[in-house]
Amino acid sequence: MKKNSISCWNCGNNVKNFFFCEHCKKIQKPIEHDPFQLFSLPYEFNIDIEKLEADFFNLQHKLHPDKFINANENEKLFSGIHSGNLNQSYHLLVDPISRAGILLKILINYDLKEKTVNDKILLFEIMELEEEKENLQQKKDALIFYKKIMGLIDDEIKTINNKFKEENYLEAAKIHTKLTYLKKIKNDFKKVEIEL
């Protein structure tokens, strides 16, 4: 059981809010959290991006170090950490591929790092896409290829959304692996575009 009682450093009352004491309104010492907890989101893949963005700006407005210029050193420090955490968590959540990765880590302790995959069908497909990218000669072809990659990413995001809904996390993890590769190819494309 996670202990839910943390006392405010200023007034000593129990605090439930991550950021401010409900009693004396002082900024609180940052505690361990994941991005979903930080934005009070349920552990679901499908999130309301507009609400996330609004919450992000709203919280950043209250917690930004600029708001604590005249506060004490501890409060300045807390504000800096909160603000940094908010930035990082927001960016991790707003990108569906990294959001899926975090969710899998939380739900089934799945970690892509230092993992070797030997799913031949997937690796073959990725190898072929890499070769296709390597052989791009003209800007026109590069654009067609880029659209194809974007289309593949969109399709897989729809599929992964369904797998999360069905709570089929192992299948979701497989799709996440593929999405990680596709994202890398998409990012490489920016370099290809410059070269052409």
């Binding site: 690796l123 190898m127 990680t180």
Partner: protein, 130 residues
């Protein structure tokens, strides 16, 4: 932090880049990947009747350390018996190339690739002999 001379050398002049006919019974193909880095590695070996690796080829898309690790391992396995080749440890590759800690998994990938290639070769030839 700088990369070692050996690593840069393998990255700039990779040895044994290419492909072999994966349907040939003498050829074993290993295909492995490390999605975190976006690496895909194909490693192929050609084995003669006495179980010696005559030739090795690789094709890797990914970071410099993955390319250097696969290039180095193709050089090392040539002329070795398949059982010797499967003894190569990722730590030897990492040491030779002086891989930084965050890139150790690239050498693991090369070890996994050669093992997968040997396994593929063995599976193929077990089928052929029966």
């Amino acid at each position: 932090m700088a990369y070692s001379k050996e690593l840069v050398d393998h990255y700039e002049r990779p040895r044994n880049v290419g492909s072999m006919d994966k349907s040939s019974p003498e050829v074993g193909t290993g295909l492995v990947g490390a999605p975190a880095c976006g690496d895909v590695m194909k490693l192929q070996i050609k084995v003669n009747n006495s179980g010696v690796i005559e030739d090795a080829k690789f094709k890797t898309f990914g970071c410099g350390s993955a390319i250097a690790s696969s290039s180095l391992i193709t050089e090392w396995v040539k002329g070795k018996k398949i059982d010797e080749a499967s003894q190569i440890k990722n730590t030897e590759i990492a040491k030779h190339l002086a891989l930084p800690p965050v890139k150790i998994h690239c050498s693991i990938l090369a070890e996994d690739a050669i093992k997968a290639a040997i396994k593929d070769y063995k599976t193929k030839n077990r089928k052929n002999s029966t």
